[in-house]
């Protein structure tokens, strides 16, 4: 086995996450799919760090984790705020600007 196999897993996870963002309607599930995409990117960063023999990839993956944590905090707060005003967590229902 060579370390590039991890990259295939990473690519598949990223694609699955992207499909989830498009297909699912529950805002929380959409958010979890975004997290999946971030994690897939982290996996390829760690793999490239190993292949190149330097730790810079791991440092960038660490920063990605911090940014993802920030994103989860703010995003979930937005979802809760929308839920409070519109009583729904569906992304289809937040269409006030359309009408």
């Amino acid at each position: 086995m060579n370390p590039y196999n991890y990259l295939y897993v990473s690519g598949l996870l990223f694609t699955i996450g992207a499909v989830g963002v498009v297909l699912r309607r529950n805002a929380i599930v959409v958010f979890m799919c975004v997290e999946l995409m971030l994690n897939a990117a982290n996996l390829s960063l760690v793999t490239f760090s190993r292949v190149n023999g330097t730790l810079d990839g791991q440092v960038v993956a660490f920063f990605t984790m911090v940014v993802a944590a920030c994103e989860v905090v703010v995003g979930l707060a937005i979802i809760v705020t929308i839920y409070r005003s519109r009583r729904s967590a569906s992304v289809d229902d937040a269409s006030l600007l359309k009408r």
Binding site: M1, L12, V19, L36, N39, N52, V59, S88
Partner: protein
């Protein structure tokens, strides 16, 4: 030069399919809670991948931050929001599913074929030299020398995110909270006196003392307003007729 031992190969070929299957399941299951549990599993396998790839610190952080903090936050918000119609998998935009799956197949195929054809120009090095004094120590050296400026920026981002979440979660009442006296007056001055004495409790008249069984009214029908609206919307309501008495005991006569 990097050599990969047999245990890692075995681990990879067991965990990688499970990981991808769980991610696919995340898309296909109906309930958001099941998606969250599958995502937690994907994150645990990723943590194992990190540890196997000499990224011990990141593996531990992955478990602590993602499966610990982030997934708990997701489950907490899921409990707060509850279950509603947004869980349904029907497509609202016609043709969206076909387009999305075609695009995903194209994108995934492109990624896989690119990774398959690309070469790095050198052999994989491995992290034995970089991790010579320990993974955490080496990471700390990098973090506090080369990457000290991004590190500070990221800390500012964390503080901003915490402040933003507090501002968003802060809830100011538009109208003052009604007092108990005002609520009582509203009940009696309302359209009907039906709920003046409070709504019926669930279960107690149906021989089954549980919150998911509606109370039986004197005429034998179920009292719908004895059940919480959340349980009703979720479909977690039992039929109270199964707890009815088959024959009513009339032998006890009322004492005059």
């Amino acid at each position: 030069m990097l050599t990969i031992q047999t245990p890692e190969t075995v681990m990879f070929w067991i965990l990688a399919p499970l990981c991808v299957l769980a991610a696919l399941g995340m898309l296909l299951v109906k309930k958001a809670v099941h998606s969250a549990l599958l995502l937690a599993w994907v994150m645990i396998t990723l943590a194992i991948f990190y540890i196997a790839q000499d990224a011990l610190f990141l593996g531990i952080v992955q478990i602590v931050v993602y499966t610990g903090a982030v997934m708990m936050l997701f489950l907490f918000i899921l409990m707060l929001v509850g279950v509603d119609a947004s869980d349904s998998l029907t497509e609202t935009i016609p043709g969206l599913r076909a387009i999305a799956i075609t695009a995903a197949l194209g994108f995934g195929g492109l990624l896989v074929s690119l990774i398959g054809r690309a070469t790095l120009g050198h052999d994989a090095y491995g992290l034995t030299a970089a991790n010579a004094e320990g993974n955490v120590q080496a990471l700390a050296h990098l973090l506090f020398s080369t990457y000290v400026w991004p590190f500070e920026v990221v800390s500012a981002l964390l503080i901003t995110a915490a402040l933003g979440a507090m501002v968003l979660a802060h809830h100011q009442r538009a109208v003052p909270r009604p007092t108990q006296r005002e609520q009582a007056i509203a009940r009696f001055r309302g359209e009907s006196l039906g709920s003046a004495a409070g709504l019926p409790n669930p279960g107690v008249f149906a021989r089954h003392n549980a919150v998911d069984v509606p109370a039986l009214l004197p005429d034998g029908s179920a009292a719908p307003n004895s059940i919480s609206a959340t349980l009703k919307a979720r479909g977690d309501m039992l039929d109270s007729s199964q707890f009815e008495l088959s024959e009513v005991d009339n032998t006890v006569t009322e004492e005059k």
